[in-house]
């Protein structure tokens, strides 16, 4: 009996080795995906990862020099928190990835940055918009626009289009993204002649009623809360039940179908700036939706429906930029990829991508979207440009 079991076991082992050998026909190049899959930004991180995974389906291999490589995605969950990010970054370093994509959220990107730097691995920020991510770093690049730009767009929109004179800003204490964007918004808004009041809340807070009372007491014309998805859904639904009638504005983090769904059936005007508007590229839209239709897990990760978030599009463009960098380098060595990156240019789904001397993509426009209170979908409002 024992002998038979041993033989069966040996057979299984031999077979599985053979199976692996077949699958690993091509040499492998590893791309690290440094994204939150849990925590406050988990929902956004999963949508961004979907963009990368979809791109990996569209382009599963890359020709570097004369060799065809199979691209393997290595996932690392940074848990949306700056104290979990280092261990996720170290995981990617020890896996010997050639290049890193991510993260959703500037705070975690900054926290992981030095580990990539020390290992000589280049990173492409997908939607981390805080200037500090790339400033003074030769290894961190980024494909999206920056917060000074985004803050100015939002302030201009609020002051000129919405006619707001007083703004109430609410952000998470110690979150680089929230606090940075609020600062840039405040500078631009007061520059235009508006008045700004600011409050911060502690991590894990879920009671926003008193903060919303503050906004009402200050006589604010709008609430600006560029916070994580988890907090923004709370803020929107609590504002609705408190009978708040002023618009709620947010940055790119709020561009998620989860947040739009929170505004469904309420009278809250929810307005956000984002990277991509569904409908701008039919080929990308249709291909992505077809994938969601056949993959139930991907659909769940997208929040249960097939609306396309701006972050998903950036995930796609980031992956394509990484492949272009590998081709330009002609090697899968991470140092060579880093050296090749500054000169890389591609025409992405979200527009043309080229890097300036800091490593930031040169971008001049952002999309403004508004949630439809009846359907819970995003609607296109305007493409805002700032000189």
């Amino acid at each position: 009996m024992k002998k038979i079991a041993m033989i069966v076991l040996a057979l299984i082992l031999a077979l599985s080795c053979a199976a692996m050998a077949v699958a690993e026909d091509l040499p492998v190049v590893k791309i690290g995906v440094f994204e939150p899959a849990s925590g406050d930004s988990g929902a956004g991180g999963k949508q961004e990862t979907l963009g990368v995974q979809y791109a990996n389906r569209v382009a599963p291999t890359v020709k570097v020099g004369d060799t065809e490589y199979k691209v393997e995605l290595v996932m690392a969950d940074n848990g949306s928190s700056a104290d979990k990010a280092p261990s996720a970054a170290q995981k990617l370093v020890s896996e010997n990835v050639s290049i890193v994509l991510g993260s959703y959220g500037s705070g975690v990107s900054i926290a992981g940055s030095e580990y990539f730097k020390n290992a000589n691995i280049p990173a492409i920020g997908l939607t981390c918009t805080n200037p500090q991510v790339t400033a003074g770093n030769s290894h961190y690049f980024r494909v999206c626009f920056l917060d000074p730009f985004q803050g100015t767009v939002l302030a201009n929109y609020a002051f000129k289009e919405l006619g707001a004179k007083t703004a109430y800003c609410l952000g998470e204490a110690g979150n680089d993204y929230d606090q940075g964007l609020i600062k840039f918004f405040q500078e631009a808004f007061t520059g235009l002649g508006g008045m700004v009041y600011t409050d911060s809340f502690q991590t894990n807070n879920s009671d926003f009623t008193s903060f919303l009372s503050n906004a009402q007491m200050y006589g604010a014309d709008l609430i600006f809360c560029p916070v994580s998805i988890a907090y923004s859904t709370q803020i929107v639904s609590q504002a609705a039940s408190q009978g708040i009638s002023i618009p709620v504005l947010g940055g790119d983090t709020l561009d998620s179908n989860v947040v739009a769904a929170a505004a469904k059936g309420t009278s809250i005007d929810l307005i956000v700036t984002t990277f991509y508007q569904e409908g701008a590229n039919a080929e990308f839209d249709n291909g992505f939706k077809a994938w969601l239709a056949e993959d139930a897990e991907a659909l769940t990760n997208n929040g249960g429906n097939d609306m396309i978030a701006g972050v998903t599009c950036m995930g796609y463009d980031g992956y394509m930029t990484a492949l272009a960098a590998l081709q330009a380098a002609g090697s899968i060595d991470s140092a060579a990829v880093m050296a090749a990156l500054p000169a890389v240019e591609i025409d992405g789904v979200s527009g043309h991508i080229a890097f300036d001397e800091t490593g930031d993509a040169i971008r001049t426009s952002a999309f403004v979207k508004k949630a439809n209170n009846e359907t819970g979908d995003w609607e296109f409002v305007a493409e805002q440009t700032v000189e």
Partner: protein
């Protein structure tokens, strides 16, 4: 002035009532077992997650709520039987570490099931509706909470003072071993305590998540911690103490969130100082001050060492 303070007071009374329902669980278990049940905040969170899934299955809301309360009570019962009862004769520290283990087990179980994403809590008819009171608009649950808390506490005090099981509880809390010698089945008394505590945490979770409608595995941590502070503040072991402590903490925390506005409107400061960020710091500073000044809390029992 009153119009300025009122909305904060209202938020405070509401959240205070919800802390109170959790705090009772801490204080009762402490009273009987001398154990700080660190998993209690997570039982509260699990009640919220169970509600999300039961409501998603399409059952009528009132049946869902009832089911949630029953299952939560059952969860409390099972936790006690599995993780605490086998350690009855072990040093108290071992039980406490077992409680921490249960806390992390529950959190990670929920992390595994939900995938670490926020779940939207279902809206419960009537108590989720908005209502206007004076200068503030709020949900009906804000007004229901304090009333319900008072009714439940009165019921609980009656149970403890007037019934046989209540008498047994008091006896066990006075002297564990003597009560056992007098023929009290301590295991059933302890189980009853956990069932009541978890049931109240379940009620608290329905009220709390109706007000702040998303649930994630860490949702129980902050309310649990604050309820624990409330229980210590009121004198751990004392039920009225826990309730009053919870209301004080809830109200103070919300007043501090609005302190800038209140001072600004009163003309005491010319521009906001950003004091709202100190609301949590205040809660925990209060705990330290109470422990230093009056270690037994507001209504704490005096302990006399038996020689």
């Amino acid at each position: 002035m009153w119009d300025t303070i009122f909305p904060y007071l209202l938020s405070g009374i509401s959240v205070g009532g919800q802390y109170a329902l959790i705090a009772i669980g801490y204080t009762m278990v402490y009273g009987i077992l001398r154990l700080i049940n660190f998993a209690h905040g997570d039982v509260f969170m699990v009640a919220g997650i169970i509600m999300v899934y039961i409501a998603a299955s399409g059952l009528p809301v009132w049946i869902s709520v009832l089911l949630v309360l029953i299952i939560t009570a059952l969860v409390g019962f099972v936790i006690e039987r599995v993780a605490y009862k086998p350690l009855r004769t072990a040093p108290r520290m071992s039980v406490m570490i077992s409680a921490i283990g249960v806390s992390y087990t529950l959190q990670n179980l929920v992390l595994y099931i939900t995938g670490g994403l926020n779940k939207q809590y279902p809206a419960i008819p009537v108590i989720s509706d908005s209502v206007k009171i004076g200068s503030a608009t709020t949900k009906v649950v804000t007004i229901v909470t304090p009333v319900l808390v008072i009714l439940l506490v009165v019921g609980l005090v009656m149970l403890i003072n007037r019934t046989k099981i209540g008498m047994a509880m008091r006896a066990v809390s006075k002297d564990f071993e003597t009560a056992q010698l007098m023929g009290i089945k301590i295991n059933s008394v302890i189980s009853t305590t956990f069932v009541i505590g978890s049931f109240l945490a379940g009620v608290g979770s329905v009220l709390y998540f109706t007000n702040y409608p998303t649930v994630i595995q860490t949702s129980g941590a902050m309310p649990g911690l604050k309820a624990f502070v409330a229980a210590v503040f009121g004198g751990i072991g004392s039920i009225p103490g826990a309730v009053i402590g919870a209301f004080i903490i809830g109200i103070m925390e919300n007043l501090i969130k609005g302190l800038d506005v209140i001072l600004f409107k009163a003309g005491a400061i010319s521009r906001p100082l950003g004091l709202a960020i100190f609301s949590d710091a205040f809660t925990f500073a209060l705990l330290i001050i109470i422990l230093v000044v009056k270690p037994t809390g507001l209504f704490g029992e005096k302990t006399t060492d038996k020689v």
